[in-house]
């Protein structure tokens, strides 16, 4: 590999790494702000202008708290847990294409950590490893509540991975490639974004992404009404900080994956026209790079929207009960995603792109008729004595 390419590549990787950490940091701030705004409050505004230094204050607090390891805990595994959680969280953003490519002299370097031809499987694999951090930490704490939290996390992640994988398979069938860059480039036309061709797959993927990130309404592993603090009950100081931080990194990564898989990644309407105009006015290299920058900004706008969506849902929907969670995963999402795969295959066979809308239509019609036929509740319920 050429040295220039190597330097640009390392710069891109470093930038992605730094941006991931920065966004995760400010997600904690955004979470508190969004929570506050949704509850008619104004949130943190004391540390710095608009409270923008709040994450730094939080991190400082985390670092200076007592780093406590329970006497009966398995010490090294107790330390390994948060490290693994952080490691797997940081690894997954490596294959996401954040932009088209940077041109420098005669070089053309894609804005992506590394373009492996099994990109989506890589993300999937790393995400499935994420549960080890939680499991090891929960078990090493030598505390029943931590163990129960860890076990909930494990079974929840395994259950929802199935539906997640099946909803990805529908996309892979339409694209014919496992490479994320290829999947993005397939969605150059706005009406071919996978959200329009795979509406049901999107809903399933989104739900499973919530479950994989352990976010409300699926945050059973840290359900404080039942499990004290869940798997991180015994953790304090920066070890707890790493667990919480890895959750936000996971949120960022899943937002990036959702935008990449279903919302065309760095594509936006009239992208080629903008690109041509920029190349025409600024020259080949500069114009191309500016166009790439715009694409990256668009992708980040999509990512931010989904991060906001994660928070929006968190402060709207209450937690599921554990049997509801399992029923939803195994009895609804998996059959639906298998149906989705079959219908997508049929659509490919007969060259109908929007075949899966049939399921959506049928579900809407069924739901509506069922709701109409159902016996009415009394409008004003009067308590009977």
């Amino acid at each position: 590999m050429d040295l220039t390419v190597l330097i640009i590549k390392s710069l891109v990787i470093l930038a992605i790494f730094g941006i991931t950490l920065l966004i995760a940091t400010y997600s904690t701030y955004a979470e508190r702000k969004v929570a506050a705004f949704l509850q008619d409050r104004i949130g943190p505004n004391r540390a710095g202008p608009l409270g923008l230094l709040q994450p730094i204050a939080d991190a400082g607090k985390m670092f200076f708290k007592e780093d406590f390891i329970p006497a009966q805990a398995s010490k090294w595994l107790f330390i390994l847990g948060p490290c693994l959680a952080m490691l797997t969280a940081l690894m997954s953003s490596a294959v996401i294409p954040f932009g088209d490519s940077i041109k420098y002299a005669s070089y053309d370097v894609p804005v992506q950590g590394l373009d492996v031809n099994v990109g989506i499987l890589y993300v999937f694999g790393v995400v499935s490893l994420g549960v080890y951090g939680i499991m090891i930490g929960g078990w090493a704490s030598n505390n029943k509540f931590s163990l129960l939290g860890a076990i909930r996390a494990a079974s929840q992640n395994i259950s929802y991975e199935v539906a997640l994988g099946l909803s990805i398979i529908a996309i892979l069938m339409m694209t014919g490639s496992l490479s994320l860059r290829h999947i993005v480039n397939e969605q150059a036309n706005v009406w071919e974004w996978n959200i329009f061709t795979q509406p049901l797959g999107f809903v399933i993927f989104l739900t499973c992404a919530f479950a994989e990130c352990n976010r409300t309404p699926f945050d059973l592993p840290e359900c404080e009404t039942e499990l004290v603090g869940g798997y991180h009950t015994e953790y304090s100081s920066m070890k707890l900080g790493l667990y919480l931080f890895s959750e936000y990194i996971n949120m960022f990564t899943s937002s990036a994956v959702i935008s990449t898989l279903y919302f065309g990644g760095f594509h936006y309407p009239f992208m080629t026209q903008v690109h041509d105009a920029l190349v025409g006015s600024l020259g080949d290299v500069a114009g191309h790079n500016v166009a790439t920058l715009i694409g990256t900004v668009v992708l980040f706008a999509k990512i931010f929207f989904f991060i906001f969506f994660f928070m929006w849902v968190r402060w709207t929907v209450p937690r599921f009960r554990y049997d509801q969670l399992m029923n939803l995963g195994w009895k609804s999402l998996i059959p639906l995603s298998i149906l989705n795969v079959i219908l997508t295959g049929a659509g490919l066979l007969y060259n109908i792109k929007y075949a899966t809308w049939a399921i959506v239509l049928v579900m809407v019609v069924l739901g509506a008729t069922n709701a109409i036929k159902a016996p009415r509740r009394k409008p004003v319920a009067v308590p009977q004595v």
């Binding site: 099994v118 499987l121 999937f124 694999g125 078990w139 076990i151 079974s155 395994i158």
Partner: protein, 185 residues
């Protein structure tokens, strides 16, 4: 001494991939031995997971990206999670010495020894595949080639294996099904 010198000379001729192979092989063996020797079953399982990671690295060195990732997803990501899951439920605080009586130990040694002899003799007899760097296809081991081979040359075994999985799945569902009189958890 002579042998050691020739080993050193061999080391000098190695490429980067060669060094990685030896390093990775060493770590793999180390973690595999830990799986057997660790006293705590959880440590054993963790070492096994680490062994799978090392194997993934070997697949990478063999240019089998798809196999590497699938190894992580299926073995490290799903099966070992279930292993860990099951073992965490067992209360294995003290070393369970009662189960390790002399009989089981000797049986283990005999079975392991026979397996080792068998494997060694197989590797000794089996021809090592060679390749011609001029005509080597860099796409070998990639998911597209694998798919083409699976769905053309090996279509029958592939489909049979999938039917086998289906049967196993149906069996699991039957086992897990709650019958009328069963306690409700």
């Amino acid at each position: 001494m002579n042998q050691f010198d020739s080993f050193l000379a061999h080391l000098k001729t190695l490429t980067a991939a060669g060094y990685m192979f030896y390093g990775l092989g060493f770590i793999t063996l180390l973690s595999a031995i830990t799986v057997v020797t660790a006293r705590n079953p959880i440590h054993s399982v963790l070492a096994l997971i680490f062994t799978f990671f090392c194997l993934t690295g070997h697949y990478m060195l063999l240019n089998a990206q798809f196999l590497a990732i699938v190894n992580i997803i299926v073995y490290a990501g799903a099966i070992m999670v279930l292993f860990l899951f099951a073992i965490m439920f067992l209360n294995l605080k003290q070393d369970d010495e009662e189960s390790k009586v002399t009989l089981t130990k000797t049986a283990g040694v005999i079975v392991g020894g026979v397996l080792m002899v068998l494997l060694l003799s197989i590797f000794n007899a089996a021809p090592v595949g060679t390749y011609n760097p001029g005509t080597f296809d860099a796409q070998t081991g990639m998911v597209e080639r694998l798919g083409i081979v699976l769905y053309s040359d090996y279509i029958l075994p592939f489909e049979l294996a999938s039917v086998l999985f289906l049967i196993a799945m149906v069996g699991a569902v039957m086992l897990g099904k709650r019958e009328a009189g069963d306690p409700h958890f």
